[in-house]
């Protein structure tokens, strides 16, 4: 099954308010260091990059490495400036790509 993401952005906020954004995605995050049953290393398969944009402007970025857990969960903040769209993308090994967008209304 394709990757599933659960994201949480408050649907409405006051201008200037600090809002918490949460992002959870399904991914095995295979570290590349584990041997399989016959002793060969299982190839690394991780998410390497997460980017969050707010009306096209990057507001948060994270690099992931082998020690990050499976199904990584991120929580971060930004300032609500104007109504628009918050977009998150995850990129990783083997061409992994996932994206989610959600609207935020700012009064």
């Amino acid at each position: 099954m394709a990757a599933r993401a659960l994201i949480n952005v408050p649907p409405t906020a006051k201008r200037g308010e600090i809002v918490v954004i949460k992002a959870l995605i399904s991914h095995e995050m295979e570290s590349g260091f584990r041997p399989n049953a016959v002793g060969q290393l299982i190839p690394r398969n991780i998410i390497k990059e997460f980017v969050c944009t707010y009306n096209g402007v990057e507001v948060f970025r994270a690099e992931f490495f082998s020690a990050i857990s499976a199904n990584p969960f991120l929580s971060f903040t930004t300032v609500a400036t104007e109504s628009g769209t918050v977009t998150m993308t995850w990129k990783g090994d083997n061409g992994f790509f996932a994206t989610e967008s959600v609207a935020i209304a700012v009064e």
């Binding site: 599933r4 994201i7 949480n8 995050m29 199904n71």
Partner: protein, 258 residues
């Protein structure tokens, strides 16, 4: 050397706690109550609880036609929040046709085989965990309601006998940890009462969702006892005893556990 710690900790604890009694109803506590606040918060939020990823997969499978019958679960059972509410809180349930109790995974696989005419899903497969999590999620908040009829009671007794029986190279019983010493700690971690309220659970140590039987096999391995294969009747009977011991406690599926 976790086992070494386990044995040492128990030797210390064994002297101070009276053995052999079941936990009084008013004293029962879910594993949730022993967790750190951050782990509780992870379970509480539907967008922070990783178990919800499986629930979403399960919702998609619920609507997908499968097998020679080309039917989906939804074709027969309709809207899951209505038709599946409280169902998982009754399982394991005695199945008259088979003459033995079956757990919720086995109940789902009966429908896979008989109603959809599809291959049963392997235990601990992503799809079976997803369907189980989705079905059990519909019982969240519902009190555990194991039947009290005669055939159920007989299997509960079999499960209880296994729970109090000393076994394995460490000569331990489940009850020594989960009835007699649940307020103690083992190698720094709370022992807890071993209540089965949140299955399938997202266990941080597993970095995945897993069934109650997987959890029981973990404990059996820790006791250096022989762990029956997934799906074995011994494990179903243990599940049934644990669920009857937790009668009335609310279902938390999908719970998060350390």
């Amino acid at each position: 050397m976790r086992i070494g710690h386990a044995a040492a900790a128990l030797t210390i604890l064994a002297g101070i706690v009276p053995a052999g009694a079941e936990i009084a109803t008013a004293q029962r506590k879910s594993g949730y109550d022993f967790m750190a606040r951050t782990t509780q918060a992870m379970q509480d939020g539907d967008t922070s609880n990783p178990g919800m990823l499986w629930v979403l997969d399960g919702a998609a499978l619920w609507d997908r036609k499968a097998g020679a019958a080309n039917r989906s679960c939804a074709d027969c059972h309709g809207d899951a929040p209505t038709s599946m509410k409280g169902v998982a809180a009754r399982y394991p349930e005695f199945n008259a046709t088979l003459g033995r109790p079956i757990n919720i995974e086995q109940r789902i696989n009966l429908c896979r085989a008989d109603r959809q005419q599809a291959k049963p899903l392997p235990y601990e497969s992503k799809d079976l965990l997803a369907l189980t999590a989705f079905v059990a999620r519909q019982s969240r908040g519902q009190p555990i309601a194991i039947a009290e009829d005669e055939p159920t009671r007989r299997s509960v007794e079999t499960g209880r006998a296994a729970f109090v029986r000393r076994q394995g190279q460490l000569n331990l019983s489940c009850a020594q940890c989960h009835d007699d010493n649940w307020s103690g700690r083992l190698a720094g971690n709370p022992l807890t009462q071993g209540q089965p309220t949140g299955y399938p659970i997202y266990r941080l140590e597993w970095q995945s969702l897993g069934s109650l039987q997987r959890r029981l096999r973990n404990c059996l391995t820790g006791m250096r006892a022989e762990a029956p294969a997934l799906g074995a009747q011994e494990l179903v009977d243990l599940e049934l005893y644990l669920m009857s011991r937790a009668r009335g406690m609310p279902i938390e599926t999908p719970a998060v556990r350390p």
